[in-house]
Symmetry: C2
Subunit: 561 residues, 2 copies
Amino acid sequence: MAHDDTLRIISLGGIGHIGKNMTALEQNGEILIIDCGIMFPDEEQPGIDVILPDMTYIYENYERVLGVLLTHGHEDHIGALPYLLERMPLKVWGTRLTLGLVQAKFEEFDIEEGSEFTEIEQHEQLEIGSFKIEPIRVNHSIPDAVGFAIETNQGILLHSGDFKIDQTPTEGLPTDIHAFARYGAGEVIALMVDVTNATEPGYSGSERVVEESLRRIIEEAPGRVILTTFASNIGRMQSAVDASVDMGRKVAIIGRSMEQNVRVASKLDRFEIPDGVRVDVREIDDIPDRRLTILITGSQGEPLSALSRIARGSHRDISVHKQDTVIMSASAIPGNEALIWKTINGLARQGAHVLHGEGEVHVSGHAKSEEIKLLMNLSRPRYAIPFHGEYRHLLGFSDIAQDLGMREEDVFILEPGGVVEFTDGRARRAESVPGGSLNVDGLGVGDVGDVVLDDRRNLAQQGIVLPVVAVRRDSCEMVAEPEIYSRGFVYVQESEELLESIRQEAKQTALDLQNRGIDDPEQLYEQLRSRIGGYVERLTGRRPLILPVIIPVDGNCSTEK
Amino acid sequence: MAHDDTLRIISLGGIGHIGKNMTALEQNGEILIIDCGIMFPDEEQPGIDVILPDMTYIYENYERVLGVLLTHGHEDHIGALPYLLERMPLKVWGTRLTLGLVQAKFEEFDIEEGSEFTEIEQHEQLEIGSFKIEPIRVNHSIPDAVGFAIETNQGILLHSGDFKIDQTPTEGLPTDIHAFARYGAGEVIALMVDVTNATEPGYSGSERVVEESLRRIIEEAPGRVILTTFASNIGRMQSAVDASVDMGRKVAIIGRSMEQNVRVASKLDRFEIPDGVRVDVREIDDIPDRRLTILITGSQGEPLSALSRIARGSHRDISVHKQDTVIMSASAIPGNEALIWKTINGLARQGAHVLHGEGEVHVSGHAKSEEIKLLMNLSRPRYAIPFHGEYRHLLGFSDIAQDLGMREEDVFILEPGGVVEFTDGRARRAESVPGGSLNVDGLGVGDVGDVVLDDRRNLAQQGIVLPVVAVRRDSCEMVAEPEIYSRGFVYVQESEELLESIRQEAKQTALDLQNRGIDDPEQLYEQLRSRIGGYVERLTGRRPLILPVIIPVDGNCSTEK
């Protein structure tokens, strides 16, 4: 537990982009959580749905937890909240849209009674336990995003939230640079800062530029406009809707997550589509191409998304028309590039004109290096804690901080579970808390680990071959011909000869043991595994997983046909 | 068969980058093949090693095939040659390094006797059947690359090969723009042109720039320099070696493909490393860090490569030293981005300074749009056939060609198997030939198709569950308790309860059939599959592959323990 005059900042969760998902502040025996988000699996984690931060430290100190303060409504900041609240009720503070998106998730989860949700607004002065908090408006790729100024027993801690500094945003006002300046004029013990784009030079570009491009593109488009963006990018969708309305276009919205976010945002006055404009997917063929805009999910080329299906020509309701203009209004999350190009190629091949890429039809929601420098210079923190970056971004930020005159050792890069402790205005690394992550697969949390994932990767590479042998329990003597099952190995109907020869090898393996008088099923299992494995590799050059199935039988029986 | 006064250009192979792997020219009943390369699998083709062009058309017309003319020694242009020559001997023409790399492959393959290899040089006048051919020097990311001027019965056909136009290359002379100009001054019926970078503005940048950067970086590096590039980028490696020698550094070369290419190129005077400079990996710890450069494979973040192992801290011989400079002297092939970032993050986390990206430490080997325009204006072809591009690049080229005054219909985008036919100086699309592709997995060619790949993808997602039931053959009556095997589903040791309940469900399924008097094993199989599948999904939210194993037994026996 922290001493009364100590502040601890604890980073939880975060593979890939470190420290973005969940942070805990601790002072006077109280714990305040900032954000509670999920991570997404990469190509080495097949079948995993989402990944949760390891919340052991929270569970173990539940009685000291004040609640959860949210910066904005993206999944990597709110997605793990239902898993936490399922286990223990807590107070939750967030802005209007953020809470709306949180509550929409509860339709999918059984949440314990007892959690309390409090809407917060910028400029408000919150008191949560011994923390005094002012939410600060920031620009990001979702409305109602905030950072925080938090008065702690070690002074003011600033938290940027996920931010950019857009001087001409399309919804609301610019990031509240006055607030950061006001706190920076005093003493700021530390700034926690979003460094996603720390290695990108210059500024992120204004949403206004995209709005104007979209308007021009939609105006000039000779046929339908099909626009995809992140389903949470409400502002981007609003720009497309506004331009479409002005051009006399109807708008269809396709894709579960987009439809849900539009529903939530509309209810909370964060999205507006005039009466009579929105049409159902079943009506779109009745509308002239030049009078239709389609907002659709699939900006990352996700194979199951509506846009990918259209690109493959396998969507039930929508196919490409010759003069379609497709706008990919998003950039690639690393790892998705090939899928996105595949989508673009498929659409182009069918005759669509595809626009994509940062600059014209997309700007990032995260500050680039000049914006980060501006925030640093406004805030003038004694220490800096970068978050939301891969290791290379965190190092890139460290270089920036040093360019601004900060010492390298005053930048704290916190790996998952990492703790920085402030005492008497001085920061130092403290002992880590559990900080790994838990895989969620279906309804299971944490039951799919490295062993299972190794098996999945191996299965994917070469499939599985199962020699099935029924033997007498007492003697390990075969009571029948072995059988060979396989999946993902060869096309069974065209490989009968190969499978038959593997069957013979399995039979010979069992006979050899029998002849040597060995009656131990474990030895038979091991022999089958290694001999069939070797045999298959010699014959095919492949190494499928070999899983012998041995059925011990009693009595006087046989499985001969 | 083509008429005497007809020329046919046939595109074979090419998923992703269309038309680069293999082309056939046909006139006067003769077929001349240009290149014979492999493709590489994407994330939807797990376990596939390489992909071959469908060569059915070549096999069926073998007696008319004159041979194979090679542009350069990259795998996507020569990699399928052993598979072709394994089946039928042919004449092969290529430049010195290209043939050297081809012949190095034969150590891995059994090639039929009877193939003949002829070394060609720029400016040479070749006569192959009724084709007259002049190889034209082009710059590319491997030495000894050429394009061709081919005199056909329809006039001059120009083929760019994989090219860029480097005014200051580091090895040899610039692309022979005079040759293209000379042919362009006359009549050129068509230009086949590499459009990999057609959507990139400007010029590709000179290898000289990279050479100078590498020299500066190697000079200033405070510790070891670890450089990775494509194993075939002999010129890049030469630049690194030259600079290292001048700074008094020893050089180690690590990675099978790099070692092999260096061996081949050295023997053919295309690579030089002075005596006493090269050191073995086992010696590197005896050399001061500032006196060592390591050339290493892994520029695409390949998980099994030497560099990835170092990044993960799992390489047997090499770990990161604090002042290491790592140079990623390559750009990402789409789909590899996440792996490359993972490598960079791993190296940076251990304290290495990592340089990467196009411009300073890498330039592309393929012409960008201004170079393509230059080649088009030099060549002045009547028709253009773009190759080596995804669909978006082919369309990008079409836009370029139209900017240069060409008509859209004079650009022929050939999908695999596509044919363009020239008669009386006019081109038109003709009926396609078989043009798909064949998956190579281990020693098998073409035996892993969609069904097997579907299974592999499904296995990777959720694993496999096998209910194993032994039943009396005549009655389908269970003779023992069922057993449940699984792989890639759950961690077995921690899921005993779950697996036991699945076992009970399997037992109940069999009992239910028994009670209904059903004695058909097929029905038992189907029932187990659907009921266990549904049960597992309800319990876990997962949908593993369910593969029931039913062992029919005769006689009076049981498998009870």
